[in-house]
Symmetry: C2
Subunit: 299 residues, 2 copies
């Protein structure tokens, strides 16, 4: 398959144009789905959409309970799905928990979420990845700027930009406890990064990403054009962001954890092929390579 | 001299009460100085005061020019006054530049600043320390929570809480490029930290402080009581903060540096004695031990 978005193939970074639409739904689908025209317009232009207080207080309390359970259960779990903070033993991320945790499994099929995603992606969808990023108080470290798509394309073989991350905020995301930072409009460019991917890059990159990292000049240019938006909102809010929007977050020295779960939905028409790096694919818990987990088939 | 604020003397952290006033000026001095009653009341209660757009655009441009000059001049300077970022060679801090740089030297005697400080401290004052914290874009790392006074007391022998930091914001301090975070009201408590100071602690602590660091429970309690204030303001603003107020800042992954200069003014009635750690004092560029640099005598 032709590589429409080459990256980590040379010594010089480059900014390429996006070759895919942002809204895939037919006019009919876009009109009939749960998101209204203003919300769709905002998403198309900026690459994200923040929906404050999407879940009820009771639902949030229930999710927080499960969040704590997973944190406690996995304190001493050395499975690869559990990623630790650089410089400490605190849990940074847990991957794939939606397959074992009933509540998060159910959420991955919640029509309040999946109907919005299908509306935008114009097709059936499936869960490509699920993770919780805890960003614990005092010790949570930054997530450097990146486009998710760049990694999913190069390391997992996601061919096109037709996926969406859906982040549920499970603690209040303040400006000071490491909220997601986004560069509005950056999803319409693609930063082809310098460097070459080593084997098993994910084993270090999930702690601290060093490859597939945009260069300073590209970042400065994007911020100059689009500015920076801080996704601050109360627990229970929901953030949709496009797979190619440039984002990252600072660390968290405050006592207040910034814990969010992320469902990544991919279009069934955009299933993974061989990684464009030419290397072997990353494990299933990072990138679902089977359609058996499609929302339709599961529900 | 009796140690009124013992710290790093045991295994258990403790929260002690402040034994010093916050406003030292006589009723007459407090009434006649440049700060009004509301500003003084805010400072007394919260431990800081942010004065937006204190300097004119021309003054800010001039200071920024000198900031860049100092950054360029010291790129390859391996003097101890130049502190590098952990994990990179970027300049983190420059100490003591006001003695060589004419503009910053002049600012340390600017009556618009010194009259406010004298009003609060109720005496003549002198520059205890001068530093620039660059917090460069992309790579600037966090400054963990600390009370400046705790270090100045233990490592430099500052006997009482009678000093003020005056920070001039030289770039726009946004919520997302690592602005100063303060815990309002925390200056009225003193966290006596656990641990023992090793010789020459400053050689690593200026990159990353590991001692004189408040414990998680004390921090959580203080934030529960006082919350967190983010000192966001445009370049040219000025922040006064009390020597014992708990503060820190997150890192900065954005392309926008957060560069501020800090003048620390101490009362001439609060001159340094032998460090309460019992160790030898830190170098003069970190803690001025002579009154020859008092504002009065210099001007």
């Amino acid at each position: 398959m032709e590589d429409l978005y080459p990256s980590r193939v040379g010594d010089e970074p480059k900014i390429l144009e996006r070759k895919d639409p942002v809204l895939y739904g037919s006019p009919q689908e876009l009109k009939e789905g749960p998101l209204d025209q203003q919300q769709l317009g905002f998403y198309e232009k900026n690459g994200f959409l923040l929906l404050d207080n999407f879940f009820s207080a009771e639902e949030v309390a229930e999710m927080q309970k499960h969040l704590h359970l997973l944190w406690e259960e996995n304190r001493n779990n050395d499975s690869p799905e559990i990623v630790r903070e650089p410089g400490s033993d605190e849990i940074r991320s847990i991957f794939d928990a939606h397959r074992k945790n009933e509540l998060f499994g159910r959420l991955s099929r919640d029509p309040r979420i999946t109907d919005m995603i299908s509306q935008i992606l114009g097709s059936d969808i499936y869960v490509h990845q699920f993770r919780i990023n805890f960003k614990p108080g005092f010790k949570g470290k930054e997530f450097y700027w990146h486009s998710d798509f760049e990694t999913w394309h190069v390391e997992d073989g996601m061919p096109r930009m037709r996926a969406i991350s859906c982040s549920i905020l499970l603690t209040d995301n303040h400006s000071y406890n490491g909220p997601l930072l986004l560069i509005p409009g950056s999803h319409k460019k693609y930063v082809s990064c310098a460097g070459k991917t080593p084997e098993n890059n994910y084993q270090s990159s999930l702690k601290k990403q060093e490859l597939g990292v945009p260069d300073n000049d590209s970042l400065a240019q994007m911020v100059e054009e689009g500015g920076i938006t801080t996704a601050t909102a109360p627990a229970g809010s929901l953030l949709l962001f496009e797979c190619n929007v440039m984002h990252g977050s600072n660390g968290n020295i405050t006592p207040l954890p910034r814990s969010n779960v992320f469902f990544v939905f991919n279009s069934v028409k955009n299933q993974l092929v061989e990684p464009f790096s030419g290397l072997k694919p990353r494990p299933e818990y990072l990138a679902n390579r089977t359609v058996q987990h499609s929302v339709l088939q599961e529900s």
